[in-house]
């Protein structure tokens, strides 16, 4: 792996070991029996019956419950915390704060910037001040609420565009600028001069919160000097590494288990301070401690999608060819370095053919909770700007926005040094096939891009919109190791470290084993996501779990098959090259009468099990593996109320081979739903004038889409083109690309319906009706 690849967000801060080369890779599948079918999840029973034990369901003997006192101000010095005052309260067993013994640990936000677990200077609302472990959760909260604490309130910043003002206070020594990234290719001014049309616009995406259904938290338990943590996480090894580092423990003394988890979307790639606090309280009390946050706390302290203010200047020729893209952005990852501008400009650099591109992104501090990677970091924000701009340019030159996009499809990655080719790019096909299935032409004719006119065609207007995207990663990488164990009756155990975060990883891996060994997916036992017992895997993020771990699982299965055939060859007195696996039998390809049941193979009987180990091979040198996407939607705008009703959505995606059509479609729909949230409902709101506190810290006030907010008609149209160059299973990532174009497609459809372009998320009825009124006034003048 290249050093630069290791800097990607889902690997940042954790060591990335190499796996040994696999040796000879198995050839690509020509046709598949199981892979590509519609397999109900192999762990569906557990999830619908309630037998799945999520980390928040773990109950241990003598377990205590913990709660955290958090700073109620966005910026304050903690001047007093009297932990002893509550130590005698009913049920209280331990109270820790910045001034108690044994709780002085550092929390590394970056290599340079570290804070204490309980830092005396709180830079965002919700920073940890003290914590209590008690016999019941109610008693823990009674005590937390009773802790006498005092703060010296400091001035706050909650607007990223004002962070760099000379009058703003400094959140960290050295100022409020985290970093500036600059990029340039060609000559933007020349490109703009060559353009027939140049447009310039400012776009803003609001801060979005992950809010997975399972709360963030863990159960921590010590056996002497050995710590076990059940954590709701996307990656057990990432948790183990970080916890061991902070507590100064050997890796073998930290076991992290995360068999099930109730959603993360990037916010559970890393531990929280709560993980350390639970471990410290457990140590102090000598009892297991359960610490799960409240919903309100998760709106403050466990990450978000950074808000971004983006300026884009773009030039296009009358023939639809882009000549220049000039992008600048100011965004914030909150009060600590947290990737505020991470990948925001990637689509501008890479999605469309464009000779002259410039980008400057500035990441600044504000007094708000630190960001965490959120499903396709940077991309939905960048798409919101670029894909609306593409729409506007196309309309300006009188071209169908679909056709203009097709004209600018690249075959190589322009954003990377060396202009590397993609292994496969389905962007063009996504656009063409998606448009065909959606009925784009007919829809376009029905609503011929009306400029806004007062009165006109009634107050309910329809419009269609589209947007495209690609995902920066999604090709997967080493390391990954998988172990497949064939039992003597032909059933199988699969051992892998990856978490199944709801994407259906376990099912896809079972299908791969089934494909190679013929064993039914239901006959495969899976052991996963446990640093004590399963193989190393990087966290499930970056849409790379299937393309990273799938090939390792296939390699392990192939190894088992080879060993089995060798044993069978001895039994049948032939050579293994002449044998093949068919159902529960090993059969000769030359003489079909020559066969043996798997359970009768002597070598297997004697050993009891056959163990195959598989490693993830390297990605093809000099090539880029990316998934591509195009989405189309139709909306209805109520011109009187500003309400937008999304009528239908279609997602056409190129993620290489479709592994499991059932879970594939589910991902596509889920990504669209989340994109609709960004487009229409989601926005963190601060009390900017008075307190700087977050005003909407629950799902009543911060709206995520309900079943009524998403269209009844949704279509998933996979390209299903195996990418044999990418890896041995031919699959690319899916989970993130599916949410990249969505919000921009909605905005374009809204424009199509009513002629008003909303450049700020979310498109609320209030925002749209104000814009409509403005438009009306403009027309009237």
């Amino acid at each position: 792996m290249k050093e630069s690849d290791k800097d990607i967000y889902y690997l940042r801060g954790i060591p990335v070991p190499e796996t040994p080369p696999q040796g000879k890779d198995p050839a690509p599948w020509k046709k598949t029996e199981t892979v590509g079918g519609r397999l109900p999840r192999v762990d569906a029973y557990e999830r619908v019956s309630g037998t799945a034990i999520y980390p928040s369901d773990v109950r241990l003997p003598r377990m205590l419950h913990a709660a955290i006192l958090r700073c109620p101000h966005p910026h304050a010095k903690v001047t007093k915390v009297n932990t002893t005052a509550v130590e005698g309260m009913p049920g209280v067993r331990a109270v820790i704060s910045g001034s108690t013994a044994d709780s002085d640990f550092e929390w590394p936000y970056s290599k340079e910037i570290k804070a204490k677990i309980f830092d005396p200077l709180c830079r965002f609302e919700g920073e940890e001040v003290a914590a209590v472990a008690a016999e019941t959760i109610h008693q823990a909260w009674d005590a937390v609420r009773s802790i006498p604490a005092a703060y010296e309130i400091l001035p706050f910043i909650c607007d990223e565009t004002k962070s760099l003002d000379a009058t703003s206070h400094q959140i960290h020594r050295g100022g409020n600028m985290v970093k500036t990234d600059r990029y340039s290719r060609g000559d933007v001014e020349r490109g703009l001069a060559e353009a027939d049309v140049v447009l310039e616009e400012t776009y803003h995406t609001a801060c979005e919160l992950h809010t997975p259904l399972e709360l963030h938290g863990c159960v921590a338990s010590w056996d002497g000097d050995r710590l076990t943590i059940w954590e709701s996480t996307q990656g057990v090894y990432a948790i183990q590494t970080r916890v061991a580092e902070i507590l100064g423990l050997p890796l073998s003394k930290v076991r992290v288990i995360g068999h099930y988890m109730g959603g993360g979307f990037g916010s559970k790639l890393q531990p929280g301070k709560y993980t350390i606090i639970a471990a410290v309280l457990a140590k102090k009390t000598g009892r297991p401690v359960r610490l799960f946050l409240t919903r309100e706390e998760t709106f403050l302290a466990v990450g978000n999608r950074p808000p971004a203010t983006m300026r884009l200047r773009a030039g296009v020729k009358k023939n639809g060819m882009l000549t220049a893209l000039d992008f600048s952005c100011i965004a914030t990852g909150g009060a600590y370095p947290a990737g505020g501008t991470n990948l925001v400009d990637w689509l501008v650099k890479d999605l469309y053919l464009c000779p002259h591109v410039r980008s400057e992104t500035r990441d600044v501090y504000i007094n708000a909770g630190p960001a965490r990677p959120f499903r396709a970091p940077g991309h939905p924000q960048g798409a919101w700007a670029l894909e609306q701009m593409m729409d506007a340019l196309a309309r300006k030159i009188g071209m169908d926005p679909l056709d203009m996009r097709i004209k600018n499809v690249p075959s190589f990655s322009q954003g990377r040094e060396g202009s590397l080719p993609y292994t496969t790019t389905g962007l063009r096909e996504c656009l063409i096939e998606g448009a065909k299935a959606f009925g784009w032409d007919a829809a376009e004719k029905r609503s011929p891009a009306p400029e806004y006119k007062s009165g006109g065609r009634g107050h309910i207007r329809r419009g269609t919109g589209m947007a495209a995207g690609l995902w920066f990663a999604g090709g997967g990488n080493p390391p990954s190791t998988a172990v497949v164990k064939l039992f003597s009756d032909g059933s199988v155990n699969l051992n892998m470290g990856a978490s199944d975060i709801g994407t259906g990883t376990k099912s896809v891996m079972s299908m791969i084993v089934s494909e190679e060994l013929g064993v039914k997916p239901g006959m495969i036992q899976i052991e996963h996501a446990d640093t004590g017992t399963t193989q190393y895997a990087t966290p499930s993020g970056g849409s790379k779990t299937v393309p990273s771990d799938g090939p390792a699982v296939r390699a392990a299965s192939v190894s088992v098959k080879q060993q089995l055939l060798a044993y069978a060859a001895a039994d049948l007195k032939t050579v293994e090259a002449e044998l093949t696996l068919r159902g529960d039998e090993v059969v000769s390809t030359i003489n079909p009468q020559m066969k043996i049941k798997i359970r009768d193979v002597q070598g297997l009987k004697k050993r009891g099990v056959i163990v195959g180990v598989g490693y993830r091979g390297h990605n093809p040198a000099g090539k880029v593996v990316n998934p591509f996407a195009a989405q189309f939607c139709e909306v209805e705008v109520n011109m009187k109320t500003g309400q937008v009703k999304i009528l239908r959505f279609l997602g056409c995606h190129d993620s290489g081979r479709v592994m499991n059509r059932l879970t594939y479609d589910n991902q596509v729909f889920g990504g669209i739903v989340m994109g609709i949230g960004l487009a229409a409902t989601e926005e963190r709101i601060f009390d900017r004038q008075q307190t700087g506190r977050v005003m909407n810290r629950n799902w009543h006030d911060y709206k995520i889409p309900t079943m009524l907010d998403v269209p009844e008609e949704m279509t998933s149209l996979p390209l299903d083109r195996p990418d044999d160059d990418a890896n041995t299973i031919g699959a690319k990532g899916l989970g993130e690309p599916v949410t990249i174009p969505t919000a921009a497609a909605v905005a374009n459809a809204v424009f199509d319906a009513c002629g008003v372009r909303i450049t700020e998320t979310p498109i609320t009825p209030l925002r749209l009706s104000v814009a409509l009124e403005k438009g009306e006034r403009a027309v009237a003048q």
Binding site: S49, G50, Y54, F669, V673, W699, P705, T706, M707, V710
Partner: protein, 237 residues
């Protein structure tokens, strides 16, 4: 103590209209779409407004522990009441603090961990259980309020180790991703189907709109509820 009980009665009483509203036919039968406002229908907002009474109950009793100790109404943390709950057809005799929600008692005291906590304050529906066949948020129901009614949790839909029809339909249609909202979704669907054996898509969307799914599996959930209706009516398995 008397004062507290009076308050408690008031809380329970204030929940009643909400309960009645649930019983109205139109809660699942609104055909006017989500842009409808007013009218007799049941919307998520109304549900939340009325459900708020339960939250008040928790807040009141939680607060009492810190009041002046001399007051007759003060309950100490840890002081419990004897109650009897009927869960999945079985009686349970319990000592509960008055501030404990039904969700807390189901999960922590009885071990019915299928019922999930997503918010603890009536926002998400992950803790949905059936109370006398009506879907209710267990986090907004005090355990002491839940005496004398029939409570059904996800575990109660099972026949031994066999999945019930709604669960089976959720498996077939892949109507979930991470699975954390799923027990609540299934109970919501079960309640809907007990009320209306053959709901339209719009009725499903209305009836299930109080259950959030952050993974966004809604499209598959609609399909699963339709399939579950079929299975429940004895349709082809």
């Amino acid at each position: 103590m008397l004062l507290f009980l009076l308050q408690l009665v008031a809380v329970i009483h204030s929940c009643r209209p909400f309960e009645k509203r649930w019983h109205k036919e139109e809660i699942m039968g609104n055909d006017e779409g989500h842009q409808r406002s007013g009218g007799k229908g049941f919307t998520r907002r109304q549900f939340l407004t009325s459900a708020g009474a339960g939250a008040l109950g928790v807040a009141v009793s939680g607060h009492l522990g810190k009041e002046d100790e001399a007051s007759a109404a003060v309950l100490k943390s840890g002081e419990t009441h004897k109650i009897e709950l009927l869960v999945n057809g079985k009686k349970y005799h319990l000592l509960v603090e008055p501030r404990w929600s039904l969700l807390y008692v189901l999960r922590e005291e009885l071990g019915f961990t299928a019922t999930k906590e997503g918010c603890g304050s009536g926002e998400c529906g992950a803790c949905t259980v059936l109370i006398d066949n009506i879907p209710r948020y267990a986090c907004m129901t005090l355990a002491v309020e839940a005496e004398g009614v029939g409570i059904t949790t996800l575990e109660g839909l099972m026949n031994g180790e066999e999945l019930g029809p709604v669960q089976q339909a959720f498996v077939e249609h892949d109507a979930f991703q991470c699975g954390y909202c799923t027990p609540g979704q299934i109970m919501g669907a079960e309640g809907l189907l007990r009320k209306k054996s053959d709901p339209t898509s719009e009725q499903i969307r209305q009836g299930m709109s109080g259950n959030l799914c952050r993974c966004g599996a809604y499209h598959h959930i609609v399909g699963a509820v339709k399939r579950a209706a079929e299975l429940k009516r004895g349709g082809a398995a």
